[in-house]
Amino acid sequence: MTRLHSPLSRALFAALLAALLSLAASTAGAAPQPDACIEGYVWREAFPDDRVCVTPAVREQTARDNQLADSRREPQGGAYGADTCKPGFVWREARPDDRVCVTPAVREQTARDNRLAHTRWLMPPAAANGDRPADTPAAASAEPAFVPETGRLPAPAAQTPVKAKKKMAAKKMAAKKSSFKLPEFPWPPPPYSTRLRLDRALLVAAQPTPSNGSVAARMEQALAANGYNEVSYYAVPDGFAMVTQIERIDPDAAPAAEQRWSTQVDPVSLIPFSLDAYLKALFGKDGDTFRVIVFTFTPTPFTTGAKPVPPGVAMAWVERGATALPAALAILPYGEDTVCTALVYEFTLSRLGGMLQRPSTFDGQQHLRAAGILGTLEQQP
């Protein structure tokens, strides 16, 4: 049995320990950073630890807003104290205590970026376990400090053994999370009302090496800009699918101005009573039209299943899907042969029940343009 009493043995043991710690630290450093942005995005840095990923243009805007912060405050203060903004400006609220005065449009953009933060990280903190992550910058700032200038963690050699251990633990956690599997979308997909194959250029834009994550983030941003804040992810053969929540639509396929997200039907009024309205309701002639859009991203061609999906099942798609794309899937490159197809499921719902509208009175392009999704994708940089 070796004993460590001699100075030589002690020195050898210390050297061995240092080598092991160094190896562990370098291994941790080689793993993808949890908050590194997907391609095309950079940290916003509205404040030193702000790691919400935004486009470079937004980052520049944020820096400019920070510089102009003092000039946009009321010099004498106001109703909200020293942080009161001049007319036309509002607090940015990149985190709850962010009081930089910006235009309402910038504030809205900031809120949207916060909401979508989890979709733009290479390894979203909770993407792999199906939970929506803490997407507030305040929560993100609880992580170890990053070097803002580089957008990277400090070099592994500069990390203390404690930090290296933390990194190892984080890596193990990430590996555990990466085992999460997306729920499977019914395949082949149930018969749809209409469909549209989306142009690849709309999804990858100027990214030289797009990933599933960057494409999904771009799509999610386009959806969020048009009010689709609840989007779910499913697995499909060789790819993934994104599902929007059911929405009420107008006769021109545009989202309904009122009760867009409600599937409730208002009762016929008793006072004053209208026999015409009553009979229409009795025989289901006063139904409204609803829509669910499923975006499939797969290189595999597909047909449709035989059985139409009941409206109740389609309504539940968004609830049963995953809230984000798992990191393992997000980091995969978006293949050259991957095709995005929008499947539009249009339903007529009345007090008597619901039915799938087949075929739709509109084509896929009309649906997506009326929803604003195509327009947003075309305008996105």
């Binding site: 409730q264 039907v265 208002d266 009762p267 016929v268 008793l270 309205a277 009553y278 309701a281 009795l282 025989f283 289901g284 002639k285 139904g287 007529t348 719902l349 009345s350 007090r351 008597l352 029940g353 619901g354 039915m355």
Partner: protein
């Protein structure tokens, strides 16, 4: 006031056929004109609620007619009123969700599901007392 068994049976049969007939016509119109209704669910709800009692009534009436039996015995008027009242209540409760769903915030399938609760209770009572007129007397 007295009532013969024959008359009591005819009145109850009339009530049941008229009540079930109104429901039947409403469902038929819905089946013709609605594009969104799940017809299978609709008829699955209606048929078990009426067909057993209607079959019993019709079977006894046809049997007594073919056997040339005219039961002239007098029936307890209280029993008849009870049977008539419960049958009327049951048929009204059957018709209620069909005609009132446009006035509520619920869809017809939702209301039909809920109606099974009270229909089950009243149907048991109505069928029990109907047995006094259409089963027990003939066994004697």
């Amino acid at each position: 006031m007295t009532l013969t068994m024959h008359t009591a049976r005819k009145r109850l049969a009339l009530l049941w056929f008229v009540g079930a007939g109104v429901c039947f016509i409403v469902l038929l119109l819905i089946s013709f004109f609605s594009r969104t209704a799940n017809l299978t669910d609709l008829w699955d709800w209606f048929l078990p609620a009426t067909v057993p009692n209607l079959s019993l009534i019709l079977g006894v009436l046809v049997y007594t007619h073919r056997q040339q039996i005219l039961p002239e015995m007098h029936v307890d008027i209280f029993l008849f009123r009870l049977a008539f009242g419960l049958s009327l209540l049951y048929l009204l409760l059957l018709l209620l969700p069909l005609l009132s769903f446009p006035l509520t915030g619920k869809t017809l399938p939702e209301l039909l599901d809920i109606s099974r609760l009270w229909l089950a209770a009243v149907q048991g009572l109505a069928t029990g007392v109907m047995g006094a007129f259409f089963v027990r007397q003939d066994e004697k």
